[in-house]
């Protein structure tokens, strides 16, 4: 089978993998700062609808509609960051999941979002190279950020917020920035999603999607952005690879996940490091 046929058969999966990797990166930005903020799917959803509506109703060209969508999700993240500023751990998780649920209900009931039927006929102008170009761009931005003092502040905030304050880290700003940066990346993923698959429904970015993103990061490893990407790729490809197993597919998928959790508890990204040491 040549590469062209392979792409023709799997282009949707290939595009999904790229978008999933972006979603995993967006969550890993929060997790790096020790914040279990689970609103990434909601931020992606906001951006998906904003970019779709901008294109369909206002004829905004693709780059501008993506830019507006990213801005909208970053603003949503900033707005959410304030009320949750004193929440940590499981409480932060519940509050941010609640935000996602509110959004789903709102999307379900607005006219402009097409209600439960969603939006269809979104201009299908995002191609595979655009998705992977965006992924590379985000990876480069994160790699640059990783070399700055902000990355140190993020690590210190994750390890011990009070000790971080004691050495001069403005923990509140670090949490805010990581939420907004994560929201912006999720927004990019959402806008690409809308324009890659030309159909959008409120359930596309509900709690099951959020849970998926979290599982990607946990399976891949939460200590680095690479882990999230690895998890997203692995778990997006896995169901396709074991498709020939037919009826045994779901159970095999589950067993493999269980195996990873049991035997590689720190995530797939630590496999390589383990072998190195």
């Amino acid at each position: 089978m040549n590469l062209g046929t392979f792409y023709a058969q799997h282009s949707r999966l290939i595009d999904e993998i790229g978008i999933n990797a972006l979603l995993a990166l967006s969550l890993s930005v929060s997790l790096q700062a020790g914040q279990l903020a689970l609103a990434q799917a909601a931020f992606a959803g906001i951006a998906a609808y904003v970019s779709a509506i901008a294109s369909m109703q206002f004829g905004v060209p693709l780059p501008a509609s993506i830019a507006v969508a990213i801005l909208a999700s970053a603003l949503a993240a900033a707005a959410l960051a304030y009320p949750v500023r004193r929440l940590r751990g499981i409480f932060l998780a519940i509050a941010t999941i609640g935000f996602g649920e509110i959004l789903r209900v709102v999307l379900n009931n607005l006219d402009v979002t097409g209600g439960a039927e969603g939006l269809s006929g979104i201009p299908n102008d995002v191609t595979t190279p655009i998705i992977y170009g965006a992924l590379v761009l985000v990876a480069i931005v994160l790699a640059i950020v990783a070399r700055t003092k902000f990355a140190l502040a993020v690590a210190l905030t994750r390890e011990d917020e009070n000790a971080a304050r004691g050495v001069g880290v403005d923990v509140g700003s670090v949490r805010f920035a990581s939420l907004v940066l994560g929201g912006a990346i999720a927004g990019l993923a959402g806008a690409l999603y809308a324009h890659a698959f030309y159909f959008l429904a409120p359930t596309d970015f509900g709690f099951p999607r959020m849970e998926q993103i979290l599982v990607w990061c946990v399976i891949g490893g939460v200590t680095s952005p690479i882990g999230g990407v690895l998890g997203a790729v692995f778990l997006s490809v896995l169901p396709e690879v074991i498709r020939p197993l037919a009826d045994f597919r779901e159970i095999t998928n589950g067993l493999i996940l269980l195996g990873v959790i049991l035997f590689v508890p720190n995530g797939l990204s630590t496999l390589w490091a383990k072998r190195g040491s």
């Binding site: 690590a155 210190l156 000790a163 304050r165 004691g166 050495v167």
Partner: protein, 242 residues
């Protein structure tokens, strides 16, 4: 660059309890100031109040000409106050190098390995491996590393919360040298300590706290003679000694 730290009439309340009541003291650059007293006297609360972790109910705190009470902890750290913790608070999963870089967080530029080793030298643990995970270090080394991290901030004032806890007499004696050398470099040191021999060897001035209030102040030699201090804190061991 070193400035005097002045606490004037500070009070801290936890609910209805006066954890600190009308406490005044000054930590001069180049001097070691001892803070002693029984458990629950408010010693750690005084460090927490100075570094912005506990809220003042009364009084003011100045570092040089700058008023620092009411500022958030990260601003106070930037102003030039560094601290260690009674229950060591290193970034345990991170290596020695990163912990030292964390100490220098408020300063521009990257910390070189030579700078890092110089800090370890000043804290009395020159042999520590920079890439060792800090939580795996022996207890005494962790205490020293925490001092090195605090020194990395190039502070005006260094607040040490029971740095000798868990150390044997030989280690404690070495710690006195370390603390005197830090002060000799122009840093004001505030030292919370229970070990009176360490206080006598290391401190220029001492304040004794009891139930959140100043019970006595003076040189270490004066303090150990003070009847009120003997009664409240030093107790029978001092009576036997005399």
């Amino acid at each position: 660059m070193a400035a005097e730290l002045r606490l004037a009439g500070i009070g801290v309340r936890y609910g209805g309890v006066h954890a600190l009541d009308d406490v005044s003291l000054a930590v001069r650059p180049g001097a070691v100031f001892g803070l002693i007293g029984p458990n629950g006297a408010g010693k750690t609360t005084l460090i927490n109040a100075t570094t912005g972790f506990a809220k003042l109910a009364a009084g003011t705190i100045h570092l040089g000409d700058r008023r620092i009470d009411g500022l958030p902890p990260h601003r106070i750290a930037r102003a030039g106050i560094a601290r260690t913790y009674q229950n060591i608070r290193l970034f345990g999963k991170l290596d020695v190098r990163t912990n030292l870089a964390a100490g220098a967080f408020t300063h521009a530029g990257r910390m070189s390995d030579d700078d890092a080793r110089a800090l370890l030298q000043r804290a009395g643990v020159p042999e520590l491996a920079l890439d060792a995970t800090s939580a795996t270090l022996p207890y005494g080394d962790q205490r020293r590393l925490e001092i090195a991290r605090a020194l990395a901030a190039q502070p005006s004032t260094l607040m040490l919360d029971e740095p000798a806890a868990g150390m044997n007499p030989a280690e404690t004696a070495r710690l006195v040298e370390t603390i005197r050398a830090i002060a000799a470099a122009g840093i004001g040191v505030l030292l919370i300590e229970h070990d009176m021999s360490l206080v006598r060897a290391a401190c220029d001035d001492v304040v004794v706290l009891n139930f959140g209030a100043v019970l006595a102040r003076g040189t270490p030699a004066e303090i150990v003679q003070d009847p009120a201090v003997i009664d409240a804190y030093l107790g029978s061991s001092a009576e036997h000694a005399s």
